[in-house]
Assembly symmetry: D2
Homo-oligomer: 293 residues x 4
């Protein structure tokens, strides 16, 4: 069993994610809010979707010379947020994002995530792994992560999801990662975790939606395969895309070869998406994402 690095910071970095209708002075007002409270902006990225008339910003600042307590920042910002009719939140690097990972029997994505976690690559905590199969228990154990198995059938899905939700609540989970989890979430569960449930689909979406995407790719004779990370929505494989990547294939690649090679894509793309979410770099824009990387 490995020990995982803990994150504790006396003066964390604050990160604001905000979206609202575009208007004059947003950057000025927000950056002035930070400045007049003694914050020093480390990173600011903004985007205006001119077609939709929407404004998106991610700004992070150091709190070591802040003139108000860190714990008072949210209340202090609320009037601005209300004025802008914004969707917003403030997070701190001292409070890592807590992920639960859902798996079935394939180990490559879990292996990748836990190895990176053990390296301290993510600003994250992973207090538990949930599975509908027992196979990956030893892998979770190797990294010292509690493993919870739930048998799922069509009849029991609602009950199981309720139990899972209780477990997620008890562990104060911020986001869930479906790391080749071979179960479809119920619409209500998907809605509850809207924008906080990350799935990896083993194709270049929107090509090859649904089952057996490698077989579909093989039979179509594509010259490039892909993998796609997206937020889960009620509609299968239709959620906002976070990250994609591809690799070239040829007529020499068998179906088994595509599956083997595709594993590398899946785990790399998933790891990038988890890092982006953990670092609060993603904003939703309808069925799209804004990724401030």
């Amino acid at each position: 069993m490995l020990s995982i690095p803990m994150h504790q910071e006396p003066n964390p970095t604050a990160i604001l994610l905000l979206s609202c209708r575009d208007r004059r002075g947003l950057v000025s007002r927000i950056s002035h809010f930070i400045y007049e409270r003694g914050g020093n902006i480390i990173d600011l990225d903004e985007h205006v979707d001119a077609g939709e008339g929407m404004f998106f910003i991610r700004v992070s600042w150091s709190t070591d010379r802040l003139t108000i307590p860190v714990s008072a920042l949210e209340d202090a910002f609320r009037p601005l947020g209300t004025e802008f009719e914004a969707s917003w939140n403030i997070r701190f690097t001292g409070r890592p994002t807590r992920f639960a990972i859902f798996v079935s029997r394939y180990d490559h994505c879990l292996q990748e995530l836990l190895w990176r976690y053990s390296m301290g690559e993510f600003s994250a905590e992973i207090p538990l792994v949930i599975s509908n199969h027992p196979d990956l228990e030893p892998l979770a154990a190797h990294y010292g992560i509690p493993f919870h198995q739930f048998r799922v059938t069509a009849d029991t899905r609602a009950d199981v999801e309720a139990e899972q939700q209780a477990l997620l609540d008890a562990n104060d989970i911020d986001a869930i990662v479906l790391a080749r989890y071979m179960q479809v979430l119920s619409p209500s569960f998907a809605r509850r975790w809207h924008g906080r449930a990350i799935n990896i689909h083993h194709s270049f979406l929107p090509a090859f939606v649904g089952g057996n995407p490698y077989r579909q790719a093989y039979e179509r004779g594509v010259k490039i395969i892909g993998a796609t990370c997206h937020y889960v929505t009620e509609e299968l494989d239709q959620g906002p895309i976070i990250e994609q990547d591809i690799m070239r294939v040829t007529h020499r690649d068998t179906l088994q070869g595509l599956i083997r090679r595709g594993r590398d894509l899946e785990r790399m793309v998933l790891a990038r998406a988890v890092r982006l979410h953990a670092e609060h770099r993603i904003l939703l824009n309808g069925r799209k994402t804004i990724v401030f990387d």
Copy 2:
């Protein structure tokens, strides 16, 4: 007007493309055929599709010390081809592939092809450009290529295709290239040019079939866009894929930006496909291609 390099070779390279059911001894028999007639193999690439039980080969050899006339090679090989129940042909580098390019109003693909042609990059001749619009006539003229305009409407398509076919026949055309040609070929025309009509589609097929693929990609919020070259078949955008490529995009790319950036993909992918076809590197395997690159 530029002058285009001519291809004339006293001792051309011969290229055999062959596919048949797999059986023992195919490589041995074929390479022995070449060896015993004094040919020296320059390049040999073969592939067995174990699932389909099919064998594919491309082999090229020098003819400078051939013990039979180059013109007698096809007849000499015929008994082997018949014995193998193969689909096959033999081409020579001294006889460049003759392409007709079909265009509408977008110039980027035509520009790319003609510039490469003028550089001698293709083992090809381009005796004519066909268009349903007059816009690109000056570009063709700059490279000294005859330009033929045909007005096409739903009513006249059959007649126009007949005229075009006559023109293609008169010019001894081997293959046609649809370089952002904004007309759908009729089923009978598509069948006639089966495996010899190359289209560029401005998406990563099979994603975004049909019209406005950049708009579809923009609205879906993909993180990667693509372009696909395929042989034309009766079914729109469903033909065997020759080549694909992609580029990363972000939320910063507008629809206009995707269109602008995608042009680079389209022309590069099309140019590669045209070169592959010109060099006789592509074999059909049902709705897939074998590309010996």
Copy 3:
């Protein structure tokens, strides 16, 4: 001869590029400067090099409701720039960057730049092409660009550069592009155009500095070749890198093949760098660049 689109805007976008030592409140002060004069920020990108303690920003804003004349913006900003001890300037989209392109005999980079220019891809004007050979005069003429030939020898370089400088001054040139220009600039000429002279080197710098990089790459047996755009400095191939790209090669690629395939890299990388410079997206950070793309 083609006609090139002209850029005229009544209410241009203003673009500030600024770098200075990092300090609290820079974003706030700068965005407030814009806000209080009625500007609406379209795009803001900033970067802090924590190791060097340096701050870099690019911010663009619309001027259609500006409360001061556009022409007064620079004077209005000067006090802030002075206070921050910053290196800065403000440009406007209504005043395109004026490039002179230097070429020798290879046409691929010039072809690419002029074609994109004719498509309106660059916020740029290209009033002249300068060459030490006559070969590319017809290409410049096709796009209607004046072409100036200068014979250069070791003895005459100083005189020629003086003449060229006079020509550049007369044409109000902002930046020069060495599009496979086979002459080394003199140190004094390089200094004069510091940060404004873009060169394309046909290797993945810092690998294969100097002459014949494709031959060097071929002989080393690399599996990937590259191209690099950088600002020219007195030291050959050592200037700040703007953009790089690569392509995979194999043992099948001959030296001639590398040269042919590498052309595609060179022109794409150069075109991207020219666009970045034209859109004022590049800041110098010592011997590195900050590219706000």
Copy 4:
């Protein structure tokens, strides 16, 4: 401890790797040799280096209907190999390549190799891990691989290498993998393992030879970083390149970020090179490689 799949095949695939001076009839003679002994060619790839006048071939064939014992193939082929004055050998899939992995303290490459090994991705056996540090013993133990630690100092290197060689001999090792092994092999050791010792260098060679390549890359301000796998030779980082790959970086990437991101490159490139070597897909051509992938 995981159990690793064993490779046992009654009718293995035979693989010939051969290089010699080019001459007429090589493919015909070799494929006929296979045919007349009842072999069926599965895959044949050949290359002629016209500049060097050299011929390279990899051919694999099924042995299930062979008319001679598999064990007699080498003796049967010897006359041909002698006649061609070739460098050649024949391997069988039933006898996996046996690798020893050398590591120091970084775990990412070892983790990647052992995980793939446990998945059965390599046609390989890994009977031991050798290290000059104790850190990675638990990782090797997790996969059930014996771990041998050797303390190395400048004074003891010769003795340690002798001990290591004895251990490699005792384990019948075919090839060694330096998976971020922070020791330079002695010239005599490097010579002994010529063409059989694979190293991963964390740069895009030949850029950034030697120590701290990420620091060198960071300070040079490159826009792309790379990793390179090569065979070890006496001259540091100068051996024949097997495989390379790259990733884009920006001014936002800190040195620590390059190191973190580069780990992904290193392990992917190393894994590909190990697979290529295990599958007998690499031939040496002087200081280059021929990779039949």
